[in-house]
């Protein structure tokens, strides 16, 4: 019998189309290489996360509308963003397990000819890679191991917390992303407070606190000599990449730590060129890293 290819409805969210095509393009390239089939959402709205603070029901309805689209397509959802994963997964579990909430939200959904039934699952890229593709297959896809590279990882909160809603990794000491990094040949480094939040969700109301949080993390990453930071969330990525020059100015520091989306790292190891993976679109240019990588090839 032919091996069944994993097939997912890809949920892009808002941040990625707004400014991080590099994450989308690199993810699509590596997933195609690994035989994961992606289907586009026929209809979409924001996952709902940004509205939860002002109205919890709006979040649940927005999330449920996306879940209903996936149910109609009879496909599980793959997200690239931790925030989208956390929100869709939370809404999915709540509405599956809590009959009262499901009936309440279904009354709203009926206005749009929709009904939440609870027939699909929500996964993040990291889960699809570790559970569906599998370590062996990823390892086999690596043609040019990045053996000289030493990197730090930032898993991000909404991929692992709250633990009772996810139960896929240890939130105090997340290891899935480290395992995925090892497959590329790069060495994942331990550093202080690895599981600490990026702070980005409150940047719209207070910039100083997230900047202090990010600065501290960048210091810890620099202290262990990491050549890059690896993320799996566009929101965390923005905090460390896009904002890094501003953090440097605010604290009169120099970090110069490139922040790569994990599929960019895996893509390099698969043999894609830096151009194909849009490494040039990163705010902190990974020039030193690419030079060393190039030298390793010669």
């Amino acid at each position: 019998m032919a091996e069944e290819r994993p097939k997912y409805l890809i949920f892009l969210g808002c941040v990625i189309p707004y400014r991080l095509s590099s994450y989308e393009i690199s993810a699509r390239k590596v997933l195609a290489r690994l035989g994961v089939e992606l289907v586009e959402m026929p209809e979409y709205n924001c996952c709902g996360f940004p509205m939860d603070p002002v109205n919890h029901d709006v979040m649940l309805i927005l999330a449920a509308r996306n879940l209903c689209v996936a149910e109609r397509e009879n496909l599980n959802i793959l997200t690239l963003c931790n925030g989208c994963f956390g929100t869709l997964n939370k809404a999915n579990k709540t509405l599956k397990e809590d009959k009262e909430e499901r009936e309440r939200i279904n009354k709203y959904l009926a206005e749009f000819g929709m009904e939440f039934k609870g027939t699909i699952e929500v996964k993040h890229l990291v889960h699809v890679l570790t559970e569906d593709v599998g370590f062996e297959k990823i390892k086999d896809s690596v043609k040019k191991p990045l053996s000289s590279l030493r990197v730090a990882q930032h898993t991000g909160c909404h991929l692992v917390r709250p633990k009772k809603l996810i139960e896929k990794d240890d939130p105090e000491n997340p290891t899935l992303l480290k395992e995925l990094i090892k497959l590329t040949g790069a060495k994942p480094l331990d550093y202080m407070d690895e599981a600490e939040c990026c702070g980005n969700p409150i940047i719209g109301v207070n910039e100083s606190i997230p900047f202090q949080m990010a600065k501290e993390k960048l210091e810890h990453i620099r202290a262990v000599g990491a050549q890059a930071l690896i993320t799996v969330c566009p929101f965390c990525h923005m905090m460390y990449d896009l904002n890094q020059p501003r953090i440097e100015r605010a604290f009169n520091e120099k970090f110069n730590i490139p922040v790569l989306h994990y599929p960019q790292l895996l893509g390099l190891a698969m043999g894609f060129t830096p151009e194909e993976l849009l490494l040039n679109e990163l705010r902190v240019k990974p020039a030193d890293l690419l030079n060393e990588f190039q030298r390793g090839r010669e």
Partner: protein
């Protein structure tokens, strides 16, 4: 930092407030908080703020300081990292209690941080919380990416209307920064 003495007057206390809150999804276990302070010790924001203390928020609700807590702008600097939820020995789900309080604060004070009003405005216009520029859409095409999925902004407007958010957004005040 100098210490300030806060006087709480008995008439300020709303003894039923804690029961109202405990009925709302996410805040059911509020009464179990025994002020151990784990949430605050492990909170990444509290470390950098002189004012933000999740433990104090839980206690203020238990005491019934309704007006004070619902108009306390520090409610808005929780990053929702959920560390407090994972670490609470009483399973209080502190970050969810804060979400419940934020939702109520919007109604009670008729105000919210400007950023949320802007995001809601974008959402109802486009289905995305950011307005995706035409140049981005053209670049997607050039890069060979599939077109963005269809959205139904009129249905988002309907969601806002049915939940009462539309009415709040129409008349509410906004504030920009919380220090």
């Amino acid at each position: 930092m100098s210490e300030t003495v806060q006087v709480i007057k008995a008439e300020e206390l709303k003894p039923k407030f804690k029961y109202e809150i405990s009925k709302i999804h996410g805040a059911e276990k509020l009464m179990l908080c025994f002020q151990c302070g784990t949430c605050t010790a492990d909170c990444p924001v509290s470390r950098f703020s002189d004012f933000y203390r999740p433990r104090r928020i839980a206690r203020m609700v238990q005491l019934g300081l309704k007006d004070r807590i619902l108009s306390d702008k520090h409610l808005w600097i929780c990053t929702t990292c959920y560390t407090c939820i994972d670490h609470c020995p009483q399973d209080v789900e502190v970050a969810n209690v804060i979400r419940v309080l934020r939702n109520l604060s919007v109604k009670h004070t008729n105000s919210m941080p400007l950023v949320y009003k802007e995001l809601a405005g974008n959402l109802v216009k486009s289905g995305f919380v950011y307005l995706i520029p035409e140049s981005r859409i053209r670049r997607r095409e050039q890069a060979g990416l599939p077109p963005l999925p269809k959205t139904k902004p009129d249905e988002i407007a309907k969601v806002f209307e049915l939940t009462g958010l539309a009415k709040i957004l129409e008349g509410c005040e906004t504030f920009e920064k919380v220090e």
